[in-house]
Point group: C2
Chain length 164, copies 2
């Protein structure tokens, strides 16, 4: 099953973070850092009605952050134990697709002004989806190994460990 | 910027839904429908520690559901007005990547037994990410055009409109 699936970026991230090191490791730890997602002109008509949403999912390409494909276990930012890759949100993944849930401050033409940005400058954007609490919030969830360490989120930053 | 990004599936969905028509349109409307996400053997070591999480994001390829690239506005399942594509979760997207937030019932070897499945059989899986309420829940969000129609979720099913 060596099927290949090919995608083309629909936009690009303009971020104050110029390299992985120092980047907040989740929007929840980003404390309001601002940035702009620029959607390329040919896709701009698809932004209609987006301004009514307070939060958006951004799917993007982790263009800096690769591990050799055999690295299916790794020590994540918030922990000091080796974890299965799919039980982490680390950028080095077999398919390096990132998922950020950002606050949408304003839609200005084809610029999405966002808050809580945790992506680096020039990140290629693959998709934008609207967040809806009724679809996307979960009550009574369990967060496995993260439960004991998630309090460290606010003071944790990318230390460059997954840089290519 | 005609960069191409290529991904290879890490697994496949086994679902009771054999075609798009009739599929729940979000996990939140799927009322417990069960299925299995099979991760291919070479990626199985990455599943370590996942069993501690009650919910997972599944990123997948909408392999059935395409529109010509010019269709950046569409009438979504829950509405009767044309909306900007990126303000919807419709399967026909410039980069047809789906995002489902599923209940993880059990990890059995390289099989993820899940609930609230809204994907069709044989859907190629691109990534698995753990859900953590502290990262992923949002309070006081606004859901734009969806606010007025989201109550229709439970009785709405895919009617085949985005089938290829």
């Amino acid at each position: 099953m060596e099927e290949k699936i090919t995608f083309t970026p629909i936009g690009i991230v303009h971020s104050p973070y110029k390299e992985p090191k120092g980047v907040p490791i989740q929007p929840a730890g980003a404390k309001g850092s601002r940035g702009v997602i620029e959607i390329y002109p040919e896709y701009a008509p698809g932004l209609k009605d987006l301004e009514g949403f307070s939060h958006i999912y951004v799917l993007f390409h982790f263009h800096k952050g690769r591990l050799p494909p055999e690295s299916l276990k790794l020590v994540p930012y918030l922990d000091d134990k080796e974890r299965g890759l799919f039980a982490t949100r680390a950028p080095s993944r077999p398919n390096p697709i990132g998922l950020s849930l950002l606050k949408l401050v304003e839609v200005r033409g084809r610029e999405l002004h966002v808050e809580d940005l945790d992506m680096i400058d020039d990140t290629p954007v693959l998709d934008i989806k609207p967040f809806a609490a009724r679809f996307d919030n979960r009550e009574n969830s369990k967060a496995g190994w993260l439960e004991g360490v998630i309090h460290k989120l606010d003071e944790t930053r990318d230390d460059g460990r997954f840089k290519d």
